[in-house]
């Protein structure tokens, strides 16, 4: 802390201390103020002045669905059209993977052909693993899918996989095209950039509500939500990748006489391909994450299993499905990462070989598929993994949890109570006590101090909007939960990052741990937490910490690692002890990077927070969740935007602070 203060002039320190002091006093005595002046408005924003945004939005959505007409077709026709475009390939993928093909409807349905057998699919992914990397990856991926079959999660997993298979191409190609357009037409980029920024901060639940309203409950609505969720990063990556192509490569394209189209598709995009593949990997992971969450609006599959298990508090079932999600996430992540980093080899094929020898994998897959197809009518075990042979881990997990709860209940309870009493509750009292009027002033002042007049206005206006729609109290609970979780995540994550930044072994261990944590869909974090700590703020906090810790670790490690080695050498030559090197050179130099990590942690925490509404928090997330169950678009969008506003305020302030820090250190002009 002292070091932090040394980086700012003394007067600035006084400003922050005074600001905190006033806030604390107002928060502590707001109730008394209200009593003394008999002015209830101090603690509660008057309902009479509340902006009727919620009802307006709801009315608008109603109008959109029932009356909106664009000449030739109505809005309803448009949504139906989109739905059918998505539904067709989705049904095909589902039939292919699990349901099998049939003609007719209901009882008259006649089976035409079975789906791919589980053996064929396992062989297929194994082949894919070998094709993109090596035997190790093939074994991993094949093992993951075999696990799904053996442990009885096959059907749900295939439903989830079908969604992923549809959403990923649409999301990637759509994102690519939008990105190309933004790259070519600067005006379009100017329009799309703020939209992307907003999309990144609006919590996922918030757009489930209007989509539910437009498309109705079912897999299509879930897919639409998934695509909307997964596409923005691809747009962003595309723009960055295209801009990152060296000027000379562009010049080459022009000099050899490329047309505009040739320049884009033959020069720029192939050159940017490695970066673009990173974007596709992101799309895959986000898709998987969202497909799980979207089970709330009818996605089915593994997500639905987790959700219903959570609702029934079925410990074993929840963990079983959760592990299946993890297994699938790991398989998809490694596979797509291998695709992204795959380097083309010299393909010198011996022309004497016949077609099977030249394409051993394609041939194997084909043969296995055909053989299992033929055998499936005789041997049902070939078609779908024999039920008798599946291993259910549900009981094991239930017993384990039971055992833990019986033997360690007191310990867990003590930890939980301690956290609640000494950390969560005081912070909660502090934040919820802040009078709304001072809240607006406070954010404005911070904005002004850190980023000047523009940021002050932005912060003040956004805060005032949150107040004006009557969500101040819930927003403060959100800030408290998020703030606490970020604090804990930073306290745990930054030292881990510093360790990883200085020690290669630690880096490997921590790195793979963080990688795995980041692969998991956010839903999964809820399961063990709820099992151990039941519902409530503490569980929510733990889940958020687990989900949001990764950037704190990553950025700290990266910051420490990217300190100019000459500075370290200079420090060593001056006789610094390792401790002094860390405190006097590495940490101060890594400070801007730490702030960036903090920023990312806050963003992740906010997005996770909304999901923790499922475990019974009373914040904005709960507001969205309620809206979702009531299909109230207005409520959902308003609450979602409120979360987005908090995220934007935090992001802008921290970005400005990072810039200040970098400028102070002469890293940036």
């Amino acid at each position: 802390m002292s070091r932090l203060r040394r980086m700012m002039p003394g007067r600035a320190g006084a400003f922050w201390i005074a600001l905190f002091g006033i806030t604390w006093l107002l928060s502590r005595y707001s109730w008394d103020l209200y009593k003394v002046f008999d002015a209830r408005w101090i603690i509660k924003y008057p309902a009479a002045y509340q902006l009727p945004v919620e009802s307006r939005i709801s009315a608008f959505m109603q109008w959109l669905v029932e009356e909106a007409h664009f000449g030739l077709f109505s809005f309803r026709d448009l949504t139906r059209f989109i739905a059918s475009v998505i539904e067709l390939p989705y049904d095909f993928a589902r039939n292919m993977l699990i349901d099998g093909f049939s003609a007719g409807l209901g009882n008259q349905a006649v089976d035409i052909g079975p789906s791919l057998s589980w053996i064929a699919i396992v062989v297929m992914v194994t082949a894919l693993g070998h094709y993109v990397r090596d035997w190790k990856l093939a074994a991993l991926v094949g093992g993951c899918f075999a696990y799904l079959a053996v442990f009885g999660q096959w059907d749900s997993a295939m439903v989830t996989l079908a969604s992923v298979l549809i959403a990923v191409p649409i999301g990637s190609v759509g994102g690519l095209l939008l990105g190309v357009l933004a790259f070519r037409v600067p005006a379009f980029e100017a329009v799309i950039r703020p939209v992307l920024d907003l999309m990144q901060t609006v919590p996922v639940f918030a757009y489930l509500v209007p989509i539910l309203f437009l498309f109705g409950f079912g897999p299509v609505a879930a897919l639409v939500a998934t695509i909307i969720y997964a596409m923005p990063p691809m747009v962003r990556v595309t723009i960055i990748a295209l801009k990152g192509v060296p000027g000379e490569i562009r010049d080459v394209g022009v000099m050899v006489g490329c047309t505009r189209r040739q320049l884009m598709w033959k020069v720029l995009i192939p050159t940017a391909m490695p970066t673009l593949m990173v974007g596709v990997n992101q799309v895959i992971m986000l898709t998987l994450n969202m497909v799980i969450i979207a089970s709330m609006i009818g996605a089915g599959g593994l997500g639905f299993d987790v959700l219903s298990a959570l609702r029934r508090l079925d410990i074993g079932g929840g963990i079983e499905a959760g592990v299946a999600i993890v297994v699938m996430a790991i398989a998809l992540d490694r596979l797509s990462q291998a695709f992204a980093t795959r380097v083309a080899e010299d393909r010198t094929v011996d022309p004497d070989l016949n077609i099977v020898q030249r394409h051993p994998w394609s041939a194997t897959v084909l043969i296995v598929t055909v053989v299992t197809f033929l055998m499936s009518t005789r041997l049902p075990g070939v078609q779908s993994f024999p039920e008798a042979a599946t291993i259910s881990t549900g009981t094991f997990w239930s017993d384990l949890m039971g055992y833990i709860n019986v033997h360690f209940f007191d310990a867990f309870e003590a930890v939980k109570t301690a956290f609640l009493n000494y950390l969560l509750l005081p912070i909660k009292r502090f934040f919820t006590g802040i009078p709304w009027a001072w809240g607006i002033v406070l954010v404005t002042l911070i904005g002004w101090r850190v980023g000047g007049i523009g940021l002050a206005v932005l912060g003040g206006v956004l805060t005032a909007l949150i107040v004006a729609v009557g969500l101040w109290d819930k927003a403060m609970i959100t800030v408290y939960l998020c703030g606490t979780a970020v604090l804990v995540a930073t306290v745990i994550g930054v030292p881990m990052g510093i360790l990883a930044g200085q020690n290669d072994t630690a880096n490997r261990v921590i790195g793979s741990l963080i990688d795995t944590l980041q692969t998991l869909p956010s839903f999964v974090y809820l399961i063990p937490v709820v099992m151990l700590f039941r519902v409530g703020d503490f569980s929510a906090m733990i889940a958020v910490v687990l989900y949001a810790m990764a950037p704190a670790v990553r950025y700290a490690a990266h910051g420490i690692r990217s300190v100019d080695p000459q500075l370290i050498e200079a420090g060593m030559v001056s006789g610094c002890t390792p401790r002094q090197l860390l405190w006097r050179i590495r940490l101060p130099m890594a400070f801007p990077e730490l702030l960036l990590g903090l920023n990312q942690t806050i963003m992740l925490a906010l997005s996770m927070l909304v999901i923790t509404a499922l475990v019974g928090t009373r914040d904005l997330g709960q507001e969205v969740y309620i809206a979702l169950t009531k299909a109230n678009s207005g409520q959902g969008i308003v609450a979602g935007l409120a979360v987005a506003f908090i995220a934007i305020i935090a992001d802008r302030i921290l970005t400005a602070a990072t810039r200040n820090a970098r400028r102070n250190m002469g890293l940036e002009a």
Binding site: P246, E248, I249, D251, V252, V254, M255, V256, G257, C258, T259, Q262, K266, V267, P270, T271, M273, V343, A344, D346, T348
Partner: protein, 343 residues
């Protein structure tokens, strides 16, 4: 006797900054450095006039920030100049449509880049064939041509490699092969050897001279290395702050630098490598006995030992075989030790 002009660059300007076009329109080419500074603009290329003749190696030499890269990009219209005319085979490039420009680049221009700019996803063969692919030349035909140029630059056998598997020098050979695949009339080389190690650079310069001996292209060669310029150029244009300070042959540059700036560059150049007998001989026929005959274009470096070893002077003969002067030991020694009297 002089070769025809292939590229004629007339009063070309490139000004960067807000409202640069307006200022250029109101002042035209009378703009001074002070005008630009007063408006906060940067004159990356200022009033450049150069004429590049068929078959010559025209080197544009300048330090970083002198505008040489901008100029060559203006000549190839990779950058749109603010004003001026660029006549290529008599037609103004700047008034051509995009379509016409594409056609000219496809058939008549080639360019080599400082950082090679090879397409990472294509093999050596595919990279070299890329300009032809863009034109829609059938695969067999373009690959045959690509193999020819790859062999020409000495990379035969590496056709299936990817750029990342090659060394810097080899990568630039691919860049050269690619730029030659369409048999361009005008060949731009933008600091092609600057990113290479000194030894490789030397080797590549020799390779370049060998190729030029075979192909006789018209070449615009950009470099910041005066030694390289001297070694390769038929004529050199020295650039400073966006303007051309002097255009001359290497020999003229050394003998009569136009400004102190140019002289600064020439100071450390070993004169014997640049000067020919023409610059050091005493005109007129020798009075007494001579040791033998030498052609007037011979560089001093290559004959110094012979002249120095002989007590008698040598006769200097013109291209037509007439005696135009004589040269003795003293003149050569003056040049070798860099004495000013060598002029």
């Amino acid at each position: 006797m002089e070769k025809p002009i292939l590229l004629d660059c007339r009063d070309v300007w490139k000004i960067y900054g807000a409202r640069a076009d307006d200022l250029y329109k109101s002042h035209g080419s009378r703009l001074t450095a002070e005008d630009l500074a007063a408006h906060g603009l940067i004159g990356a290329v200022r009033a450049v006039n150069v004429r590049i003749r068929q078959g010559e190696i025209f080197v544009i030499m300048g330090l970083s920030g002198s505008g040489k890269s901008t100029l060559v990009r203006c000549l190839s219209r990779l950058i749109e100049p603010t004003g001026g005319e660029i006549l290529f085979e008599g037609r103004n490039l700047l008034s051509m449509t995009d379509r016409e420009m594409i056609e000219i680049r496809r058939r008549k221009m080639g360019m080599v880049f400082q950082h090679f700019a090879l397409l990472p996803h294509l093999t050596v063969l595919q990279n070299a064939a890329f300009p032809l692919e863009v034109q829609g030349v059938p695969r067999a035909e373009r690959e045959a041509r690509a193999r020819e140029v790859i062999e020409l630059v000495g990379l035969k056998g590496r056709e299936a490699h990817f750029p990342r598997q090659l060394s810097g020098g080899q990568q630039q050979r691919v860049g050269i092969a690619r730029s030659l695949a369409v048999e361009p009339d005008l060949w731009f080389l933008d600091e092609p050897f600057s990113a290479l190690d000194p030894l490789i650079r030397r080797e590549m310069q020799d390779e370049f001279l060998r190729l030029q001996g075979l192909l006789q292209k018209t070449i615009v060669f950009i470099t910041h290395d005066f030694d390289e310029a001297i070694r390769l150029a038929d004529r050199i244009a020295v650039m400073k702050d966006g303007a051309i300070v002097q255009v001359a042959t290497p020999e003229e540059l050394i003998l009569s630098p136009a400004t102190a700036y140019v002289e600064e560059f020439t100071r450390h150049i070993p004169r014997a490598k640049v000067l020919s007998l023409r610059s050091v001989m005493t005109p007129g026929a020798p009075s007494g006995d001579t040791a033998g005959d030498l052609p007037v274009t011979e560089r001093i470096e290559s004959v110094a030992e012979r002249i120095e070893a002989s007590d008698l002077p040598y006769r200097v003969l013109s291209e037509a075989g007439e005696v135009v002067g004589f040269v003795g030991r003293q003149a050569v020694i003056d040049v070798l030790i860099g004495r000013k009297a060598a002029r």
